[in-house]
């Protein structure tokens, strides 16, 4: 097929919000490409100004109902660092454990409900349930196990109420946590089986040489804290983020685009980056499942991120079991952490990648300045580059097929909840 055509995806819905895609082709050549995010702006950074530092976890949680723990954790980290406090022992375990819950829930949602239907040719998991009832049932149950952890530790699964700067309002007893074990044991086996299943899906032959960026921790697979590293030699503290990254605002999008500095290049955050940078820190069964499923220690095919997510579900289950096993109830549900006249930086690994917060706090403990960089902003350039590279070999596809494949390429990033590309209102214009 040759000649110019425009592919316009009018409502790419949510990518940490609502988005759209516009593509102009001339034969194999991409003339123009915009991945637009037009989610109405909600101005969190602005109205955080003047609020008390202790309110940041609850307020920022409302940025995203899909990964509130990520927001709460990054905000708590920033405030605790600013106050010179550090969670240790049982409190640290609980912070990591509730995050495992979010990973399990969010990844199960993505793997079974948002991504797998693409590979199998269904419009939704509900449609898929007809011929694959067991898969959908497994997905639902895995999601529920993740939600169960969040509900026990957080009070509820969406916008948990029990997370605060310095720890928690109330901590569970050992017996409370032990009640989670049977479900987690089931979930671990189910996740390993899922790794095997998703690795058999048909993947396009597509790899790119990304700069992967994620947290890294000397002893553990990164979830809730660590240094920021990349496969191009970056190794910085979270407080150095602004020296190495930059956000720019483009006309077509309500989300800011983040780039590496210097150079202004794209980079990639999320499960594939975490996995490739931290493979050796995976828990034993998760790591073995990855290898058995034919993943190498580095994965550069974004479509295979579904396998990486399955591996991370297995990891999160194994890690949760380990944390519960070693848990002893802390004496106090929180530690004292009251930042004054200081700046705090915090980061954590949201299910879909690095989430960075920075706050300036005044002498009264009020926030005077806030800066939040969600994973999808950071992946935007990478997504656009993927699309540019993906189209040429497939320009011959009929419009509807091409559209679906491009949606799928975007969904690989799990941009918040991939509903993004479920909301396509495609118009193709041939010239």
């Amino acid at each position: 097929m040759s000649g110019e055509r425009e592919i316009e995806v009018g409502y790419l819905a949510r990518v940490e919000g609502e988005g759209a895609m516009y593509l102009k082709l001339d034969g194999d050549e991409v003339l123009d490409l915009e991945f637009r995010i037009f989610e109405p702006p909600r101005f969190f950074e602005a109205f955080l100004q003047g609020r008390r530092f202790s309110e940041a976890p609850d307020i920022t949680a409302r940025i995203c109902g899909i990964c509130p723990i990520a927001y709460q954790t990054s905000a708590c980290n920033a405030m605790e660092v600013a106050a010179g406090a550090r969670l240790v022992g049982g409190l640290r375990d609980l912070r990591r454990l509730i995050y495992c819950g979010e990973w399990i829930e969010s990844h199960a949602l993505h793997v079974f409900f948002l991504h797998a239907p693409d590979f199998l040719g269904y419009e939704s998991a509900i449609a898929m349930a007809g011929e694959h009832p067991d898969r959908v049932a497994t997905g639902l149950r895995l999601k529920k196990v993740g939600n169960g952890i969040m509900t026990l530790l957080g009070g509820r699964e969406i916008h948990p109420i029990n997370v605060r700067v310095g720890g928690f309002y109330r901590v569970p007893t050992r017996a409370d946590l032990l009640a989670l074990v049977p479900d987690l044991e089931w979930a671990l086996e189910a996740a390993i089986e899922t790794v095997d299943w998703v690795s058999s899906l048909p993947f396009p032959d597509f790899e790119r040489d990304y700069e992967f960026v994620s947290l890294s921790h000397p002893d553990e697979y990164p979830i809730h804290e660590g240094r920021i590293v990349s496969n191009r030699g970056l190794d910085i503290g979270v407080d150095e983020w602004e020296e190495h990254f930059e956000e720019s605002h483009v006309a077509w999008s309500n989300a800011l685009h983040a780039r590496r500095q210097p150079g202004g290049t794209a980079y990639h955050v999320g499960p594939m980056a975490r996995y490739s940078l931290n493979f050796e820190k995976l828990t034993p069964r998760a790591g073995a499942a990855a290898l058995a499923a034919g993943l190498e220690e580095t994965c550069r095919n974004p479509f295979r991120s579904i396998v990486v997510r399955a591996v991370e579900i297995a990891f999160a289950c194994e890690e949760a079991l380990r944390l519960i096993d070693g848990y002893s109830m802390p004496d106090s549900p929180f530690i004292h952490a009251e930042p004054r006249s200081t700046v705090g930086h915090g980061a954590s690994e949201a299910p879909r990648g690095l989430l960075y917060h920075r706050y300036t706090i005044d002498g009264e403990g009020l926030i005077t300045d806030a800066h939040i960089v969600p994973p999808t902003s950071q992946n935007q350039l990478s997504i656009e580059d993927d699309l540019r590279a993906y189209v040429p070999g497939r320009a011959g596809l009929p419009d509807d097929r091409l559209q679906w494949e491009l949606e799928q390429a975007i969904r690989c990033y799990d941009p918040c909840i991939s509903c993004a590309t479920h909301f396509l209102d495609l118009t193709v214009e041939r010239q």
């Binding site: 939704s124 639902l140 109420i161 109330r170």
Partner: protein, 258 residues
């Protein structure tokens, strides 16, 4: 149940997606729901779309742009029953904090090129734009209440979604009042029930995510809070979160700000 399955649509305006995720979080009933209603439009879950009109529309999010103010009219026209879900849709949400500020100033804080952003100066609940058949509160909504509303809709009965205070739920679950027994400031007495009184059970004062209860006496509670050592600034903050623009909270916070 009749052979005709009612058509369900789920719409999103300015929001965090948490309330529509709640529909996917009813894991034990999701497939039953899908069997009982036709999920005709729900981009978060399916790329398929069925034309309206829809028997039941769930609307998440608040109105913050001129485009959305038009879009909600279209949603209303294509919906027989329209139920708003969550604090954004029922009270303007956290983003309604802009309603007390200068939005241009807000844009400059977040965006380098304010001229690229088009937005209204307010975030308003859906009911300020179109008639709404039922408002389901919460930030986020409770999945039990969502299921209850769906069930009630299917059978044509009134949903059991009472407008009384969170205190009732504290008592039903046997939590000893933390404001009385620990002196922790709690918004439960002026907040609508629905969550199951989670916060007090976790040693935390309710922070009002279900919005004002049926006849909230904010002044009396504020007076007691001051006695517990809460400053007027913190009182204003407490009232101005996810439901800050709900009339009863708004009027009180504006009075205390003076």
């Amino acid at each position: 149940m009749s052979a005709h399955r009612p058509k369900l649509a789920v719409w999103k305006f300015a929001s965090c997606d948490g309330c529509q995720l709640t529909l996917l979080d009813v894991e034990d009933h999701l497939l039953d729901i899908a069997a009982t209603v036709e999920i005709a439009y729900f981009p978060e879950a399916t790329r398929g779309q069925v034309e309206g009109p829809y028997d039941l529309s769930l609307v998440e999010g608040s109105i913050t742009t001129a485009h959305d103010a038009e879009r909600i009219q279209m949603v209303r026209e294509s919906s027989k029953t329209l139920v708003t879900i969550g604090a954004c849709a029922t009270a303007g949400g956290i983003q309604a904090l802009r309603n007390w500020s200068n939005v241009d100033g807000f844009i400059e804080v977040v965006y380098a090129h304010p001229e690229y952003i088009s937005t209204l100066s307010t975030s308003t609940p859906i009911a300020e734009h179109v008639p709404v058949d039922f408002e389901l509160r919460g930030c986020p909504i409770s999945k039990h209440q969502l299921l209850e509303v769906l069930e009630a809709f299917l059978h044509g009965r009134n949903p059991n979604v009472p407008g009384h205070s969170v205190c009732v739920e504290c008592k039903l679950r046997g939590t000893a009042c933390i404001m009385v027994s620990k002196g922790i400031p709690c918004m439960g007495p002026i907040t609508q029930a629905g969550c199951g009184a989670i916060c007090p059970a976790y040693d935390r004062g309710c922070y009002g995510c279900f919005g004002p209860s049926q006849s909230p006496n904010v002044d009396s509670l504020a007076h007691w809070w001051r006695g517990l050592g809460v400053s007027d600034l913190d009182l204003v903050h407490a009232l101005r979160t996810f439901n800050g623009y709900a009339p009863e909270f708004r009027q009180a916070s504006e009075a205390y700000e003076r």
